[in-house]
């Protein structure tokens, strides 16, 4: 069971994960909250939601957030995957979820999730993390808050340098 760290009210804390990651091969577990692949969601999501379950979707880095846009209001979690540390597509996916589609649910980083990218992730609108480097919530929070200033507007709403100066 990977650690789940959540960001709420500016603080990072390790929390119990209510959701179960269900792969395409698994039988559907009998739990209240599941995270499914996009394909499985498209096949079974309707029924699960109708049964009152909480549903999240795992978005791979080559899948377009646009394909989810219609369903976003009904999703509790979008788990955006980092297949490799170097694959930065997830940063665009998260940014679009927040800024373009106004998604307010949980955006969770899964896959190759290292604390060196914590700051970038938070800025792009991720608010939940499953670190693969063994980071504790404390270490994750420190890494995420490393820089006192930022230079761009981003999904986290932090004031960039030019607003601090004004």
């Amino acid at each position: 069971m990977p650690t789940l760290i959540k960001l709420a009210g500016g603080a990072f804390a390790q929390v119990e994960d209510d959701f179960v990651h269900v792969t395409d091969e698994d039988d559907a577990p009998n739990v209240d909250a599941v995270i499914l692949s996009l394909a499985r969601f498209q096949a079974e999501g309707e029924a699960l939601l109708a049964a009152g379950r909480k549903v999240g979707v795992r978005l791979e880095s080559d899948q377009a957030v646009e394909d989810l846009s219609y369903d976003l209001p009904r999703l509790s979690v979008v788990a955006v995957a980092f297949p490799k540390f170097r694959d930065g597509r997830a940063f665009t996916s998260a940014t679009l979820l927040r800024e373009r589609f106004g998604y307010r649910g949980e955006v969770r980083a899964v896959g190759d999730v290292f604390r060196e990218q914590a700051g970038f992730m938070v800025r792009c609108g991720f608010d939940a993390f499953e670190p693969s480097d063994g980071s504790t919530a404390d270490e994750w929070g420190k890494a995420a808050k490393r820089f006192r200033h930022v230079y761009q507007r981003a999904a986290d709403g932090r004031a960039p340098a030019f607003e601090e100066r004004a």
Partner: protein, 552 residues
């Protein structure tokens, strides 16, 4: 000149502290080299053949005197007494110890320098016209826009893990001294008929194993919309650029695969969805940055100088220096002075700590505290009074910095090659030295005129051989170093990719072949044609025949 405020300084301090922690973890064995590699690369630290190399960013090639002295200091304390200027206006130190790197970064940060984004798959240090703020050719000061991009691209949350590295160059002059057309993005500022400032946006140029002159995807982007448009280009690239093969991951491959028109359409579509009010820089911040560059304290001077004229008449060496290294300035009574780092027989682009200090002293006394780096690996004193030119020349002479060869055959661009680089097939520096020797006779070199020779030690093309008038590429033939020559390239406003001359030559035949090419050119040139113009007129055949005649 833009000066870092408290906020910029705190940012650099945070960055330095972060890296110090990472190095400590590496030295304590908590991080393996594999885990450490992406982290050190984010701070410009490469592992080369013999030692670590640290690449320090010189944003848009602009240094103040304190910074130049600090670089000299670091060369002396932590390297073997010299540094190497690169084709992207940065400086590299080749002999760095890992344990020293955090201290070096701290010392750089004290003078507002850093190594952020000098490597890795991110938006690299932006390069600009080294004559910015000094040449009358420009329609605006490109440093303003470079600084805008520097800030916007620094630790950009969305674009720090792109498919591949991303290089942006900016010029605001019709004569392109930045190689804008062979960058991932080249920006050429222009004014409309009604005076509105805009950028021609060129995307998908590049060198490496698949060289391209980039197509223009937007003729006139309103200047105030620059950041939202860059965001759109980068976003399309980040989403759709290839990640399965690093040799096909640059944006040029995406642009070529989609076609420039389709790529432009996708960018337009994305751009249309971006909230401009959030993405574009507010006018107040733009005005603040512009203000920082608008304060150069020029004096009002007469257009001519008696001292200058007298020295030119009396001293042929000075007159030659003026002909080749001194360029017109926008202010009357001033000149732009190019300082060549291409002394015959030396390593192109290397400067010793002493030379850096001489350049800094001259910049302080005679060039309004301003020193520039060019993409051709030379330095520039951008604002020298005509009256001061003779003393500046004399001081440069004393320091071995007065070689009067800017844009001539011995002003060679060369990559580090097999002397330093782990990827090299062949040496580049000694080949450059041999070729330069052929043009040691300054009269001969001037008679030949503008001739851009560029040498890379392997197909990665760090030495720009694809855009050379005469390009030299090191190749490996069964363990032996061979060199392939190519002709007719240009990285300037008339950009083109050089064509291969013929079979590769052994090392000891290269300089001779260049000599033969030049003789051929001299025998067929018309009027004051440059080598490149002659090549474009007569084509490959006569040159090929001249070089390979013996082989028949």
């Amino acid at each position: 000149m833009y000066l870092y405020d408290a906020l910029d300084k705190e940012f650099l301090a945070d960055r330095s502290a972060e890296f110090r922690g990472q190095v400590a973890r590496r030295l304590a064995g908590e991080l393996s080299e594999d885990q450490f590699k992406p982290l050190r690369l984010m701070n410009g630290l490469y592992l080369q053949l013999h030692a670590y190399m640290l690449r320090v960013a010189i944003p848009y090639g602009s240094l103040n005197v304190v910074q130049a002295r600090r670089l000299a200091d670091i060369a002396r304390r932590y390297d073997k007494g010299y540094g190497h200027f690169t084709t992207r206006q940065n400086i590299q130190f080749n002999w760095i110890k890992l344990a020293d790197a955090p201290d070096i970064l701290d010392q750089l940060a004290e003078v507002d320098l850093h190594a952020i984004q000098t490597s890795g798959n991110c938006i690299r240090n932006v390069t600009a016209d080294p004559y910015a703020g000094a040449t009358a050719e420009e329609v605006d000061d490109p440093r303003v826009w470079s600084e805008v991009i520097r800030q916007w691209s620094t630790l950009h949350p969305e674009f720090s893990f792109l498919p591949r590295k991303f290089k942006i160059a900016i010029t605001a002059a019709p004569r392109d001294r930045t190689a804008a057309r062979v960058h991932d993005i080249g920006l050429v500022a222009r004014r409309d008929r009604d005076g509105t400032l805009g950028f021609e946006v060129i995307v998908g140029g590049g060198q490496g194993r698949t060289p391209y002159v980039g197509p223009t995807i937007k003729e006139h982007l309103p200047a105030g919309r620059l950041l939202s448009y860059l965001q759109a280009v980068l976003r399309v690239y980040n989403r759709y650029g290839r990640r399965d093969n690093i040799y096909k991951a640059r944006i040029k491959i995406l642009v070529a695969a989609l076609g420039a028109e389709e790529f432009a359409r996708q960018v337009e579509e994305e751009w249309g969805k971006i909230d401009a009010a959030r993405a574009d820089l507010p006018d107040t911040e733009l005005a603040r940055i512009r203000g920082a560059f608008a304060t150069t304290p020029f004096e009002t001077l007469p257009a001519t100088s008696a001292i200058f004229e007298a020295n030119k008449a009396a001293d042929p060496a000075f007159a030659r220096f003026v002909r080749n290294n001194v360029k017109p300035h926008k202010k009357s009574g001033y000149a732009i002075v190019e300082v060549s780092l291409k002394a015959i027989g030396h390593t192109p682009g290397d400067a010793t700590a002493d030379q850096l200090e001489v350049a800094a002293d001259l910049a302080e006394r005679y060039s309004l505290n301003d020193l520039r780096v060019t993409h051709a690996q030379n330095l520039v004193l951008p604002h020298v009074k005509l009256d001061d030119l003779p003393v500046v020349h004399a001081a440069l002479q004393k320091a071995g910095l007065a070689t009067a060869n800017i844009d001539l055959a011995s002003d060679i661009i060369a990559c580090p090659g097999l002397d330093y680089c782990a990827l090299a097939n062949a040496r580049a520096i000694p080949v450059a030295q041999h070729i330069a020797q052929k043009f040691a006779d300054a009269d001969h070199a001037e008679k030949v005129g503008e001739l851009k020779i560029k040498i890379s030690g392997c197909i990665n093309a760090c030495g720009h051989h694809h855009v050379a008038h005469i390009g030299v590429l090191g190749v490996d033939k069964k363990g032996e170093e061979f060199y392939q020559l190519s002709l007719g390239g240009s990285g300037a406003e008339d950009a083109s990719i050089a064509q291969i001359l013929g079979p590769a030559l052994p090392a000891d035949k290269v300089a001779e072949a260049v000599d033969t090419l030049v003789d051929k050119y001299l025998s067929v040139r018309e009027g004051d044609e440059r080598f490149l113009d002659t090549f474009r007129r007569v084509g490959m055949a006569p040159f090929k025949e001249a070089v390979y005649a013996d082989a028949h």
